[in-house]
Symmetry: C2
Subunit: 228 residues, 2 copies
DNA sequence: TTCATAGTTCGACGTTAACCGAAGCATTCA
DNA sequence: TGAATGCTTCGGTTAACGTCGAACTATGAA
């Protein structure tokens, strides 16, 4: 009867609307303070404090104290992946109300800290097609060609590989139902595109906006792969 | 504030212990009746009826009426994938109590309807290594070599490809944190191994037991890939 | 020191939802 | 036809949990 881990506790943790909103707000990878999360969830500071305590003891978020602020972030990439999985289910059954922002979100958005949406899967597909990354088992790895490509793109691979987190990871996209690039490389790719001026993040959403030049440069660097 | 789909509803649906137990019981892919699920969840028939109604209207399970029985099954593979994602989180934080069955579960179990656990990822890794399947984008496909291999293995590919469901899919394993083969091919592979007498399913758990000959045959067919 | 801001703790209120007993349909078997 | 089984609906009880007001601690600024 009791096989495997106890799902219901984690699910119940995510199951509260206020907590779910907080987690969704953290999906852009940036750390937020308790009051920001309270506003995001639409509750007062006291209740937010309670929720954040539960999220923390449930290992869904990590916290860093800084001065009189407390910064919260998702605990790890697994949490983000699990949330995306739930989003896939929720999107499937609730196809009503396709808000105005939804189109922009599907086009390009930030997932935890990397590029997601149509442009995310396009980039990943292009990398795969050109043999720059390879999926071996579930591990995603840069090929030799990919290593030189990444360095040419302006990414400090030595700095990345020294960290604990896996360099490459694949993450299932809830809107596209395809995989896109995650991991520290995915994160570095996105920040590099920001510093290059290709993209910028919308201030109060997860939308990623392409500049005119950036859009052209992106299409040149990661041409869309023909559908099968 | 309200971006993307509403996660909390689905999560709350899974968040109840009784419903979570039901879903876990359905993870072996077999359809169960309402009373079996009631027993599995440890509740009476009435409350189970209520829970199953919610799961159904939440599109997490599908139902088929047969005589005076109602058979429930997971709605689709996406549900199974989302549940596995949650299991990954729950397993991470609750590393206590590694029951006696856990070792067997990690070794080989059924996930929805295909092989999971150490043996599942071993098979998938071997298929990849030998070039029998290829991951292109997130789509997994049989190579020409893989097609002849599958037919030689005794699988009717024509019958499979005619169905709606994708032939190959990858599914993240919560215990191994690696990918294994899902989709209708993954399902067919497992049933083929059963009819060949390589494996049999434990009656009241998700454990898959290898026969002596089956274990040897499996190792010969899908040799373990060296760790990187 | 004094004030303002960030966050927490406490207590009380209200809503929600799980749960079961009992009764009611529906289907199958004798 | 009657009896048994599988499932559902209805009421009423109970417990859990989210919510906020008010009071409290801690850090930083004037």
């Amino acid at each position: 009867m009791k096989e495997g881990p106890d799902i219901s506790r984690v699910a119940a943790l995510i199951g509260d609307p206020a907590r779910a909103n907080m987690l969704m707000a953290l999906m852009n990878g940036k750390a937020l303070t308790a009051s920001e999360l309270a506003a995001e969830a639409g509750v007062t500071a006291q209740t937010a404090s309670g929720h954040l305590g539960k999220l923390q003891s449930g290992d869904l978020v990590q916290v860093r104290k800084q001065g009189r602020h407390k910064y919260f972030a998702l605990a790890n990439a697994d949490v983000a992946a699990a949330l995306e999985g739930l989003m896939g289910l929720a999107a499937g059954q609730l196809r009503t109300r396709t808000g105005p922002k939804d189109a922009a979100l599907r086009h390009a958005r930030v997932c935890y800290n990397h590029l997601a949406g149509q442009k995310g899967v396009q980039m990943y597909a292009s990398l795969l097609r050109r043999g720059l990354v390879r999926e071996d088992r579930d591990e995603v790895a840069l090929t030799p060609d990919g290593i030189s490509f990444a360095e040419e793109f302006g990414i400090d691979l030595d700095g990345l590989t020294s960290s604990r987190a896996p360099l490459c990871r694949s993450c299932l996209d809830w809107s596209e139902r395809r995989t896109h690039l995650a991991g520290s490389l995915g994160r570095a790719m996105l920040t590099r595109m920001e510093t290059r001026g290709w993209v910028r993040r919308d201030a109060d959403s997860r939308v990623i906006l392409f500049s005119r030049d950036g859009s052209a440069a992106f299409e040149a660097a990661f041409p869309a792969v023909m559908e099968p």
